[in-house]
């Protein structure tokens, strides 16, 4: 085989796209042929160079894109801040409710185990709500994806930029990661 006939094989060899048998043949030829070794080196350099052709991400790239996506209604809106503020308010509300119930109950039978136990019980977004997103008003009640587990550095960077930060502690890693736990203010549940 002439060196000319090795050329394309060497290209495939560099890219790891030839069989191991062919690779052995290429390697054997490279050991004996200086011309093809030079060719291989130059071919590799070309590939390395192309991979290094990069440009900076413009600082406003994300903002521009997301504005356009939102204008076309291609991006589900975040749930209203009201929902989230309720969520964040859940813990203090639950504490307040406990205190209130305690104050209410304790004069009679403070240690009554049968007394209502207002806890910050968390309940998942109902599966029905998730399986019937079409029933929901546009942009509302969308299933919220959380994939905070196992994020790359880059993903964390984006998550850090989210308008409303999800609380990683609220994500049930064992459970269905498609849903997040939402604190329902217990005062409401007890009506």
């Amino acid at each position: 085989m002439k060196c000319l006939d090795w050329k394309e094989k060497i290209s495939g060899y560099i890219d790891g796209e030839i069989s191991s048998e062919e690779a052995r043949q290429v390697e054997a030829h490279l050991e004996t042929c200086g011309e093809c070794r030079t060719l291989e080196r130059r071919m590799r350099a070309i590939g390395t160079g192309v991979a290094r052709v990069e440009t900076d991400v413009p600082p406003d790239f994300r903002e521009k894109l997301f504005t356009r996506l939102e204008a076309e209604e291609l991006l589900p809106r975040r749930r209203s801040l009201f929902v989230f503020s309720l969520r964040w308010a859940a813990v203090p509300l639950a504490v307040a409710a406990s205190v209130a119930v305690f104050l209410f109950v304790s004069p009679e039978k403070g240690k009554d185990a049968g007394a209502p136990q207002p806890t910050a019980t968390s309940s998942k977004v109902s599966p029905q709500a998730e399986s019937q997103p079409s029933n929901a008003a546009p942009g509302k009640g969308q299933p919220v994806a959380t994939a905070a587990a196992g994020l790359s550095v880059e993903e964390r960077e984006i998550v850090a930029n989210l308008e409303v930060l999800e609380d990683p502690a609220a994500i049930d890693e064992q459970g269905d990661p498609d849903t997040i736990e939402i604190f329902e203010p217990s005062v409401r549940r007890q009506g």
């Binding site: 394309e8 080196r41 192309v50 052709v53 291609l74 994939a147």
Partner: protein
């Protein structure tokens, strides 16, 4: 960590976070790809924006059986093609790449010596990057896209074949031809 396909499915079901994750994973890649394909920062940015818009618009037709990355690169490549065609339609002059002998006696920029691209010891410089980006533009688009997808984006020959809708053998040959042409035009930079 969620796969791209899982994220795409979640986005289709209305998850904004899933789209944010996909954006975090791919926006740099798409911008670099578009830059390698167009050799122009402004066009690369615009093509990358357009790619994500098209991904979002086409999400309802996306088949979960398809690999997200190859599907996305198919869109990205078509988008960059449109930008290149638009340029031709407008009758823009083909710009003379920096450093090319343009015949008007303008001196080529000072470049590092031949060892600059030794893969073991690369002294990458902005000038070399510009030369590479320009040399890529001289390739036929079909060679450029095959080579960039493989060496730049890390797609296998099979994935490149899927993006370009050609056979693996055709990919192999286009990449080889791209290497040959680039080795010729960048000859003095190579080890």
């Amino acid at each position: 960590m969620r796969t791209d396909e899982e994220l795409m499915e979640l986005y289709r079901r209305g998850s904004r976070d899933a789209f944010e994750m996909l954006f975090a994973r791919y926006h740099r890649k798409v911008i670099h790809f578009a830059y390698r394909m167009t050799g122009d920062e402004a066009k690369a940015e615009e093509a990358a924006q357009e790619t994500f818009l098209r991904v979002a618009r086409a999400a309802p037709t996306w088949q979960p059986t398809a690999r997200f990355s190859t599907w996305m690169y198919t869109i990205a490549r078509r988008t960059t093609l449109n930008f290149l065609r638009d340029e031709k339609d407008e009758g823009d002059k083909v710009s003379i790449p920096p450093g090319e002998e343009s015949g008007d006696g303008s001196p080529a920029p000072q470049l590092p010596g031949p060892s600059a691209l030794n893969p073991e010891e690369i002294a990458w410089s902005a000038e070399i990057q510009v030369r590479f980006a320009a040399a890529l533009q001289q390739l036929p688009e079909s060679y450029r896209s095959a080579f960039v997808l493989n060496r730049g984006e890390g797609l296998s020959y099979e994935e490149v074949a899927s993006v370009l809708g050609i056979t693996v053998q055709a990919v192999k040959s286009r990449i080889f031809r791209a290497r040959e042409m680039l080795m010729e035009s960048l000859s003095e930079l190579l080890p």
